[in-house]
Point group: none
Chain length 193, copies 4
DNA sequence: TTTTAACCGAGACGGTACGTCTTGTCTTATA
DNA sequence: TATAAGACAAGACGTACCGTCTCGGTTAAAA
């Protein structure tokens, strides 16, 4: 017999409205400028409904990020069989995000969120490649003999992702060919001879 | 701040007290938790004295950073003649900062500050190596034939600094030998054959 | 043939639990501090069950009062044949209520309820004598020649009840003999010569 | 509140604006309906400016009452030499207040405030006669041989004031001649033979 | 020598946002 | 279909800071 309880269930409508509003306000005003009151307003929701399910601003942003309400899903790493090309394409799509009017603001807002909330930090790293997507791609590179088996996957991943973060923080335009040079510098020494 | 006289010239005493208080509160409470009111209190200073000389929290933090009230000066890159060893040592000193109780908090506070203020972003990048110290060292590496003349200095620098940032944001412990692996991965392909 | 209808009927158990809880919370926390959620909790009842039968906090308190869940029933006016003694005894029992630890809180809570709800106001007046118990007793005093037929019953009643209210609001201790002096002052001029 | 300069001394302008707003809102919405947020809005003042100087809603109302921002000053007891006439006139002015559209609301709001704040209770009693104005008038009545020296002043006062409170709470219209009957009933037995 | 102008610590001001609490309505599942 | 449980939108509560503006006092340079 299944244990049941009486009572209403969580409103998916409210949840979605809150995450959507958070995503929009995040890119409009940044992390510091994002207010719970503003989210409640924008979502047409009582503040208590937010606090019932998320304990803090950063928890809200973390889930938002995880569910793809902030960074679009197409930051997946392509897989064409050419490792260098795939990594370069992935970096390019991120650098392009930085070049867009609001793209850099969103990314910096996420960095700020990550800086004061461990959960967001971990999520951001996963989403931007660390620990999962990029590392997986590199692992398959080993399988296909594009990389040597002893390649330092973690360090390569962090070097790539970190470079994106640095660009976001320093607000400097990305020079043409940067993706290519970066991938080559980081990968080449791990390629089979 | 000790009891003293006021006067129509800028009080160095007040300035120092403010920067010191900012540094302390930055590591205690992080960037978001840092308040102008708290700085004024801690420094024994009127709020207007802060606003008279700094336009915002981030301007204050930026100067604090520039003057070495936050990150100690000894993050200079060593120069022993062995490029790899120098870079590894420099990375190690940063990773060690991250391992210290408050070191990671300070660095994350700085990242948050950089994320919402362009000036802090630039300063942080300079201080952590980008654009100056690390790049200069690499350039001297070229002079001494430790690197090929066409080495992508900017990309190498950003990969190195970015990896540190990523570690700070993800709160993951640094594996032994990480500095070495990272330096090798990033440098090797640019070393003369 | 008796008319029947389908479905459950109002739960007397719930009704009683609600009124009991209201009475207890009223004396614990006062009228302002009384919350519908608290009543539901204390009574083990859904909030809707309260709102289904009572339109507001004051309606709930009004019924509570009417049904004797707040002020005990023994505030009836005694009838020994001695009008002055009866009124004095009745006043004394009220002044004694005021002297008890929670008695004054309850009475003030009721006054607050009366102040913002007309229904509670009327009920309180009835219960404390106005319009019924005290006036009835006075009327019988006329019948028994303890009062002149033209005695201003309404005014006498209000003077007596009002004095109790004033004491409750001013939180001043009642001086010994106050009941007696008050009754005498208010009654004497209406006694037969 | 008009646009002006602030400074490190308490702004009389702000204080007055707050008390005025409180008085107006008190009669518009009653004590329960009076909100600190509403007062701040109406007075053109930050909420903190209210909380800096008054600890609670009731403290605010208490001062409002004391300073005559709620009940007008002309509730002084007249003094024509004729005690009965003076008391009757005073009662009439209060009953007339009750008959006015907002008069009863204000008085009930004050009663509610008094019910949950001791300070307001004491102030209200003073203002409506208890302990000072009415009792003083009665004392002068003794001096002028209108009352016997042993007249129970406190009880007479409370009977008179209490009758007004009862009327306010019960929302019943005052019958013509009520003031006169009440004064006579309460006074007569204390008049010299 | 006297202004006078800018500094100082302190802190009140009008505000915004916080996170909690309560209200009264609505929804779900149980009995 | 009445119930207990409880999610919901709304909005008041009292607190913490924001950045601006005086206040009264000090002190160095200009008149």
């Amino acid at each position: 017999m299944t244990q049941h309880r009486a009572g209403p269930v969580r409103s998916e409508e409210a949840r979605t409205a809150i995450l959507t509003a958070t995503g929009r306000l995040m890119s409009d005003r940044g992390y510091e400028g994002l207010t719970m009151e503003g989210v409640a307003q924008e979502a047409g929701v009582g503040k208590q409904t937010i606090y019932r399910w998320w304990s803090s601003k950063s928890a809200l942003v973390a889930e938002c990020l995880l569910e793809g309400f902030i960074l679009p899903d197409h930051f997946a790493v392509p897989e064409t069989g050419d490792l260098r090309a795939d990594l370069t394409a992935w970096l390019d799509s991120l650098f392009q995000l930085l070049a867009e009017p609001r793209g850099d603001a969103i990314l910096r807002a996420l960095i700020a969120a990550a800086a004061d909330d461990a959960e967001v930090g971990r999520r951001l790293r996963e989403r931007l490649g660390g620990g999962s997507v990029i590392e997986d791609r590199l692992r398959r590179g080993i399988d296909e003999d594009d990389l040597r088996p002893d390649a330092p996957l973690t360090e390569i991943t962090e070097a790539l992702v970190g470079a994106v973060i640095i660009r976001a923080l320093s607000r400097e335009a990305v020079a043409p060919g940067a993706s290519d040079r970066l991938v080559r510098a980081v990968i080449e020494s791990s390629e089979p001879t």
